[in-house]
């Protein structure tokens, strides 16, 4: 028995193991998939995420039932909070839903695979290097994929710029059109308050090879997080020029903006 399966048996209650078992994933004979997802690790990760989701951030998720139960899906959200906590919370919301749960895959920044232990652990719990080929292959595999089209621009933004959407890349729209993926916009409210940053130490980030080094509190604040899932959007695969693709991206961006505004107006307190 490996340490991983021992930890899984000791730490993960049977009910949570059953919940993960309800989600069908195409994995090999030893429990891995090509991106490093591991059936035992995901159960340990699910158990840890449950605590973070329910106890620490006390997440309220509205409309998670709108995510299609099968077929390729892109969950497109605003990025915030210096660490990829928003991806974790969106993933848990979908994996823990009562009716037809799914285990979505989050696309992560390119520097993670170079960090010892961290890269491997992220892969084992389902995160995947943010590469268009990876995303295309997963959509072809009928997976649900979480993408943040703002990328680093979104997660590294300062507290004064909170809830202002940065420029969206067009890559996700091309992939959705090509693979017939349903886009589900998601507005994340609350993650901006988890690690408020007042500045970015750019020279230090460059020296360390990191995307940014924020000036922030050295811990994560327990802000209350609201996840607003929007109505599914479907785009055809017409051969259209890039400016028309940008218009489609703007439609998704406007929808996310609307969801964020809804979340902010419904929010009663920060913590």
């Amino acid at each position: 028995m490996t340490l991983r399966s021992y930890l899984k048996d000791k730490l993960v209650p049977q009910a949570q193991q059953d919940q993960v078992n309800r989600i069908r994933k195409s994995i090999g004979s030893l429990g891995y998939d090509p991106w490093g997802y591991n059936a035992d690790s995901i159960k340990i990760g699910f158990s840890a995420a449950r605590y973070i989701y329910q106890k620490y951030f006390r997440v309220e998720a509205d409309g998670v039932e709108k995510v299609p139960a099968e077929g390729p899906v892109l969950l497109v959200a605003n990025h915030s909070g210096q660490l990829p906590l928003d991806g974790l919370l969106i993933g848990f919301a979908l994996a823990s839903r009562e009716d037809k749960p799914r285990m979505p895959r989050a696309m992560i920044e390119r520097f993670f695979p170079t960090v010892p232990y961290v890269g491997n652990i992220l892969n084992q719990v389902g995160a995947v290097l943010g590469d268009p080929v990876n995303c295309a292959k997963m959509l072809a595999n009928d997976e649900a994929v979480i993408v943040f089209p703002e990328g680093i621009r979104g997660s590294g933004k300062l507290y004064r710029d909170r809830y202002q959407l940065k420029r969206f890349g067009n890559g996700f729209m091309h992939l959705a059109m090509e693979h017939g993926a349903t886009i589900v916009p998601v507005g994340v409210v609350g993650c901006e308050e988890t690690i408020p940053a007042i500045a970015n130490i750019r020279p230090l980030a460059q020296a360390l090879g990191l995307p940014y080094v924020p000036v922030a509190l050295p811990f994560v604040l327990p802000a209350k997080v609201h996840l607003k899932f929007g109505d599914p959007m479907i785009f055809d695969n017409a051969n259209i020029p890039e400016d028309k693709v940008t218009l489609r991206v703007d439609l998704v961006k406007a929808e996310i903006s609307k969801l964020i505004d809804q979340g902010l107006s419904e929010r009663k307190r920060l913590f």
């Binding site: 090999g28 030893l30 998939d33 090509p34 390119r110 010892p116 491997n120 590469d131």
Partner: protein, 315 residues
Amino acid sequence: MANERKPHILITGAAGALAQQVINRLRNDYFLVAADFREQVYLGDDIPSYCIDFNKRVFEDLFRRYDFDGVIHLGRIMSSQENRMRRYNANVLGTQKMLDLSHKYGIKRVVILSTYHVYGANAYNPALIDEEAPLKGAGLSMDLIDSVELENLANIYLWRYPDLNITLLRPCNIVGPGVRNSISTLLASRRAPVLAGFSPIMQFIHIDDMADAIVLAYKKNQRGVFNVAPEDWVAYQHALLLCGCSRIPIPSIPPMLPRAIARLLNLKSFPPYLMHFFKYPVVIDGRAFQDTFEFKPKRPLKEVFRYYRENKQPV
């Protein structure tokens, strides 16, 4: 008819375990001639066997004498063997000579064994790399340049001389009884080095399945480049555990440290230029080959690892 001429095939790299498996599968239906640059192997009275350097003029005598219909080129020096110049001469120039002679003598079928190492191990590699992906192997390490050059050469001949019907196979790690490559040596050892904090996803194919794949590739006349890998995956360190190996962690940062350690210890199965393959995954997509050739590997990973667990230090 009793006197019907059997098709003649030249099989290179005959001293290797994989070539011998291929020979056993083909010997009843084909007239085989075996060649190897390392040693002359006895394969029975019905199979002429030669120890021959492909760059020497006498190599052409084989083509004159036997009137081959096809060539199965398995005689590639692996990246852990010999020195860089010798590998380049044998793998690139030797293959070019073989392809030139194949064209000159009107051969209709050529199967060449390459390796997934040509893709190169890189932190930014996506998973399920397909055949159209760029070959980054040469950029990372000059020690893999011969593998990439061999591929480029084969590709040039593939398009320039369509009559040769070249099929180029890029298999994942070939393992199993008799295999003497780096990864097989590691799985067979009692203690194997690992890079601390890195356990890349790997693919393994049993030598019997690979021999089946080569035979299928030869028999079905479909030219092109194909990855060969089963749809099953495992992390390197997990594979070592299943093979009953103890893991010896080597510090992985800064990147020059594990290279210096490997150079110092002179570990043949963990050479500095393959270090990235023990750090970053190179997961290839074998579906094109499976669909085109109706190939399905029969030996599961558990069976492969059981063999190594029960046979430490196998031949």
